[in-house]
Symmetry: C2
Subunit: 357 residues, 2 copies
DNA sequence: CTGAAAGCGCTTACAG
DNA sequence: CTGAAAGCGCTTACAG
């Protein structure tokens, strides 16, 4: 659909209009309204007159004119791939942190959704026309091709990037430790046969969670069973269908003691598939998740999960981005290329303590 | 925190740069790159040369300069009150529809969060400096004072506004019918004592749901009990605390047959409070919600609820807004001031059929 | 200390 | 059919 071009907005009062009303130059008005504008000194009385005129005319500085001069839009761009046109709770949590922090810096946030990261280059370009001062990439799948599509003049910060990009700072959480601690918890509670419903193989976060899972098992001398590691995509539907299939294939055989799901959505789908089969959580099998999104509190029983501080991570992305925008690339050196947040184990009701019984 | 002003972006190539490289005027470049620019005709060969130069220089038209001339930013503003700094699933669904539709029109979306609607005036003003071409107000609490704070030159569309505003189009769903149908369903399934956990009294949507609830009861000759109508705020915490309090107060007395909650979050809190008290859903009492957000599918049992087409409503807000922006106020006459979407009953597993047993 | 001028990068209207 | 000029509304640097 073409961009509608006609029908420009009505002309709003300008600095000149205000100046005329107050009997001064546009420049004087600018100086007064922008506060501490360096050298200019204007008498108290004139200032009052100017402010009064501005108020009466309902004057607002035109943002486009300002941006043209300052080469700053005071706007941050958020880039995110939307699967099946459905925003999810991971996005919600991160975005929440972003807008919260952005308003602190008086920055606007505009959201750019992509269909996929693989041809992100052409989609990203659209934003490289001065409309944003910095970009936040949420969970980008970074390839060399993709990285070459970035504009070196626009500072970028990523969350949960799967690879390091030159000149870009990435914010992550310690997923490996989080996964390890979760599985340790399961083992401590007497679970032995721990299944892992992982995310799509190859993504760095997925592999880290698998590593943590294996690490915990090995430390306790539990031999990992091949058939207890099943990968799916990071969705409710993925968790449901893979769990359904697994149950069908292993009909009549023993259930695992516990199922460690790679995120809360998978866990939700998993619980649904179990419920369909008449298997109760946590009475018959324990289930736990990862992320601690809204979903984790919505399930019944509420989900034991690994909390990633998603909101705080979104906020930090803004903090770092603002530093880079304001101070230029000098700011980077102090920061390091990766910021790692610790995860927190959140115990709710979906894991049963077998050791107690 | 002050807006960082320093450190402007690096100078990007301009039309003049491209023109110089191609040996033509900036105007010629503009004409070629903008496509069908009316009168101007430039030879095929020159066009090619211009495009090549633009590509080589990696030219992007500067959005601020364009906006200054066109008085159009091609961005839409979304305004929303965030309670306790927590975005919710209602927002997620509506926002999803908004960004989906906006990308269709090649419009950017920027999100403005407010603390409260009551002093929205001062917060709205910030956006009246040409940075947006139109505004979408999500669930605004409209007062005369608020309405007077709107800029008549910026087209506005609201969703779930509680009152009609002159010159603004409001998008709603037929909440009254939705509520009535839900309660009719409960009655049909043999429930008699139906409790309603409503939203905050006074809001128009809340009253409509209450009206629908009462209407259904009356039509079946069921006398509404005063103590079965409890109001809370539209949150999980509200549903939990009010349900807890009710159970405590009515300890030892009969439970209602079913609880009709005014939204899914309340229903979730309600289910939690019931679970705490050892009351099972739907075995001991049926619970249903309203909205059909993500939450409704996450609960176990999944929630029977009234679906509002939130995503479609968000998309329609954009469609209408774009008509108003493009065609001016002429577009309004065709539309009417209120657009009402039908609701749909979604039956899941949280309501038990008593008539069958 | 004040004001007139130049310039940000684009598009539109108007001469040649 | 083409090109030089004016103007969008602001800010910054530079004369008086």
């Amino acid at each position: 659909m073409p961009i509608p071009r006609n029908n420009p907005r009505k002309r709003a009062p300008t600095l000149a209009d205000v100046g005329r009303a107050a009997g001064v130059s546009a420049m004087a008005v600018s100086a007064v309204l922008n506060g501490a504008s360096s050298s200019v000194r204007i008498s108290e009385e004139t200032q009052k007159r100017i402010r009064k005129a501005a108020k009466e005319l309902n004057y607002r500085p035109n943002i486009a004119a300002r941006a043209l001069v300052n080469r700053r839009m005071n706007t941050l761009g958020v880039f995110f791939v939307v699967e099946d046109h459905e925003l999810n709770n991971y996005f919600l949590a991160v975005f929440n942190g972003i807008i919260d922090a952005a308003s602190k810096y008086q920055q606007n946030v505009t959201v750019f959704t992509l269909d996929t990261w693989s041809d992100a280059k052409s989609q990203l370009e659209k934003a490289f026309d001065g409309r944003i001062d910095g970009m936040i990439l949420i969970a980008p799948v970074v390839t060399a091709e993709f990285a070459s599509g970035l504009d070196p003049n626009i500072p970028a910060v990523s969350l949960h990037a799967n690879a390091e990009v030159d000149g870009m700072i990435n914010i992550e959480s310690d997923e490996r430790t989080g996964a390890r601690e979760m599985v340790e918890l399961l083992l401590r509670k007497g679970h032995r046969r721990v299944m892992h419903l992982s995310g799509p193989r190859g993504l760095i976060g997925v592999e880290r969670r698998i590593d943590g899972y294996r690490e915990a098992l090995q430390a306790q001398g539990v031999k990992p069973e091949e058939k207890l590691l099943v990968s799916t995509d990071y969705s409710e539907e993925g968790g449901r269908s893979k769990m359904r299939a697994w149950l069908k294939k292993n009909q009549g055989l023993d259930l695992p003691d516990a199922i460690f799901c790679a995120n809360d959505s998978i866990a939700l789908g998993c619980i649904e598939a179990l419920a369909e089969a008449g298997i109760r959580v946590p009475d018959d099998v324990s289930v736990c998740g990862f992320d601690d999104t809204l979903i984790a509190r919505a399930t019944v029983p509420q989900l034991t999960t690994v909390r990633q501080p998603l909101k705080a991570m979104g906020a930090e992305a803004v903090d770092i981005l603002m530093k880079r925008i304001s101070n230029g690339e000098d700011a980077i050196k102090d920061l390091g290329k990766v910021v790692v947040h610790p995860t927190v184990l959140v115990e709710r009701s979906s894991v049963r303590d077998l050791s107690a019984s």
